[in-house]
């Protein structure tokens, strides 16, 4: 089902031309500009593949190309990430059965045919951190190439209908969707920035003083991106928690649900249970109400709301219960979620027998935290540490966002889970630092870095920021800027 009316978003304006795609031989309507998984979900199709050994049904989970839960066969080719691959008229899509062979008629791309793109700074990731890095590196004098594996830029900003916090110069009071529009427009207009979407970075290499990012464009072309400095702004990946049947189609990461309803205007469900009362879970609940979806409850294992109180108050006054000290025991349903069973936790985090509650829902949203996407930084050889306050493994870096490999910078959630305002500020610092490293920037730009570091410090001076700062202190190489 598709959404038509929405208090914040206008989907009619966004949808492209109506086209036909075929799923297991059956024709379906789709719109140009949407991804395969979105069109299938709109048609009520949730099972996208079956697992190799036990043939368990699998559906979407992250919807941003990171988890491989949504692989399908497209025109005979397996392993296509349906969540970030755009529909094309006449496309034939089939469910994938475990690991499938690549047909012999298909030729993989050859190194000798790789397209070569040159810049001073190569940026991986076009979310708030990557876009700010690109805009500021270009302003500081560098020629910038930015790549992103999604069909649209903006990262997670494109699905944030809520207004941002912070100060006016940090876009406070402006909705995430609008911030995405502003940053994308600035990047597109800048002659010193080249943008590549649908382009997945698969490796980082070094040759003398030049760095190489190898990428695959539109699932077929091999592209070499050469530069003097690299900014890795690859964001984060949603966490999963263990419970019975947690792979049932309809158990979605919170971000996937936002992608469905806010980016593509597809109604994600009729009734939802949300697991996790951090900011993501609370904001998701409000967005679901705005999309006309019933939210049965938000459950949270901690004894308190983890996100901002104001986000909780917003959904409580519209009647959504928040059950703290509760956990999910299992999901039930045939090939899709039909029910969720939850229970109260005792002081030792053990479910209390007899407190089970059953919620009849068709989607269970997991908003149980994020972990930094550091795969490329790991492969490149950057030093890594596990930092609980930053929600996982992160790279060691200095106050200018440079990692332990000279010329490789990091920004945003990839540097440690925080939020979009700090991602933008970190992106700005990383972008200018990368431009300075590439030798194309004037030393006077150091002042802009210092100014931005001060803004970050002020933003992080409250209780939420202090927690993050504890983590940053543990990974920081050299002096922390406080």
């Amino acid at each position: 089902m598709r959404l038509n009316e929405h208090p914040i978003l206008n989907f009619q304006k966004r949808r492209g031309k109506k086209i036909k795609i075929y799923f297991e031989g059956q024709p379906l309507d789709a719109y140009e500009g949407e991804t395969i998984a979105m069109a299938l979900h709109a048609a009520g199709i949730r099972v996208l593949s079956y697992s190799g050994e036990k043939h368990r049904p699998r559906g979407l989970f992250c919807a941003i190309g990171k988890c491989s839960s949504c692989l399908v066969k497209v025109n005979g080719i397996p392993n296509v990430r349906s969540c970030i691959t755009l529909v094309e008229d006449g496309m034939r899509i089939e469910r994938q059965q475990g690991k499938e062979e690549i047909p012999k008629t298909v030729k993989p791309p050859q190194w000798k045919d790789a397209i070569k793109v040159e810049g001073d700074v190569v940026i991986i990731g076009g979310g708030p951190a990557g876009l700010m890095a690109a805009i500021n590196a270009a302003k500081a004098g560098a020629k910038v190439v930015l790549i992103d594996e999604n069909p649209m830029l903006g990262g997670q900003l494109v699905k944030q209908t809520h207004k941002f916090f912070g100060k006016r110069e940090q876009f406070a009071g402006v909705r995430g969707v609008k911030i995405a529009e502003i940053l994308i427009e600035q990047a597109e207009k800048n002659e010193n920035i080249e943008l590549y979407t649908e382009t997945s970075a698969i490796g980082i290499f070094q040759e003398n003083d030049r760095k190489l990012v190898v990428a695959i464009r539109k699932n077929k072309e091999l592209v070499e991106f050469w530069g003097k400095a690299i900014v890795v702004a690859t964001g984060a990946m949603e966490k999963m928690i263990p419970f019975e049947n947690n792979d049932l189609p309809g158990i979605y990461g919170a971000g996937a649900i936002q992608t469905l309803m806010n980016t593509y205007g597809v109604k994600p469900a009729d009734r939802v249970l949300i697991v996790g009362a951090g900011n993501v879970g609370l904001i998701l609940a409000y967005q679901l109400l705005q999309a006309g979806v019933e939210v049965k409850a938000i459950i949270e294992a901690m004894p308190k709301v983890g996100g901002y109180f104001v986000h909780a108050a917003k959904v409580r006054r519209l009647g959504i219960p928040i059950l703290t000290r509760h956990t999910i025991l299992r999901a039930e349903g045939k090939e899709k979620v039909e029910r969720a069973i939850v229970a109260q936790l005792d002081e030792n985090w053990k479910p209390i027998p007899g407190t089970e509650k059953v919620f009849d829902v068709d989607v269970i949203a997991l908003a149980v935290g994020l972990r930094p996407s550091i795969e490329l930084l790991h492969q490149a050889g950057c030093q890594i540490a596990y930092i609980r306050e930053l929600s996982g493994h992160v790279v060691r870096r200095d106050a200018r966002m440079e990692t332990t490999i000279k010329g490789i910078f990091v920004a945003g959630d990839a540097a440690g889970i925080e939020e979009a305002t700090t991602a933008m500020l970190e992106g700005k610092i990383a972008g200018i630092s990368a431009a300075l490293y590439s030798g194309k920037s004037n030393i006077s730009w150091l002042k802009e870095i210092e100014k931005t570091q001060k803004e970050l410090t002020e933003f992080r001076s409250g209780p939420f920021g202090k927690h993050v700062l504890e983590g940053i202190k543990k990974v920081m190489v050299g002096e922390i800027n406080e």
Binding site: F164, A172, Y308, F309, A312, L318, I322, R460, S461
Partner: protein, 168 residues
């Protein structure tokens, strides 16, 4: 564990708990003209209310401080209700035996002036019916959020913080 404030355990704040954190306006002030009430008891990095206030009535030294309103300086212009990203600002005005509460409303449908709406308290319970007095639609709002002013019995002024629009 005992240090967790009650509002974070429950996800909403009781008026008695709010009173311990911020002072509320006097009845005399409430009868003069509408006055802004910040229901924002937690330190978060956010300052648009202070930035937009035309009379500097919102007091906040650091971006992480909780907002407090100087009720004498507040002119009841509703800009803070329009801009607040947390939808945590409201206005209250006493008129005879009625109260008028101004609140954000980001759901469809947007009620019309004169329409009867169901009044919801801070936990979403239906506590009565009220009449919509004014509507600032999204395109006229300075914060991209539609706001509505609803008239209700005076005893509900400190309970009602949302409405439900019921149409046949």
């Amino acid at each position: 564990m005992s240090e967790i404030p009650e509002y974070l355990r429950k996800g909403y704040i009781e008026i008695e708990e709010l009173k311990k954190i911020i002072e509320l306006p006097s009845e005399e002030r409430l009868r003069k003209k509408p006055v802004a009430i910040p229901e924002c008891p937690q330190e978060i990095p956010c300052a648009p209310c202070r930035e937009i206030c035309p009379t500097d009535a919102v007091i906040m030294e650091n971006v992480n401080d909780i907002p407090r309103v100087n009720y004498d300086k507040c002119i009841g212009c509703s800009l803070c209700v329009q801009i607040c990203p947390g939808l945590a600002f409201f206005m209250v005005y006493y008129k005879g035996n009625k109260a008028r509460v101004t609140m954000p409303h980001e759901l469809l449908p947007i009620p019309s002036v004169g329409e009867e709406v169901v009044l919801l308290n801070r936990v979403g319970e239906e506590v009565g019916k009220g009449k919509v007095i004014t509507v600032v639609p999204r395109e006229k709002s300075k914060g991209d959020t539609p706001i509505i002013t609803v008239e209700m019995p005076i005893e509900l002024a400190w309970d009602v913080r949302a409405v439900k629009v019921v149409r046949e």
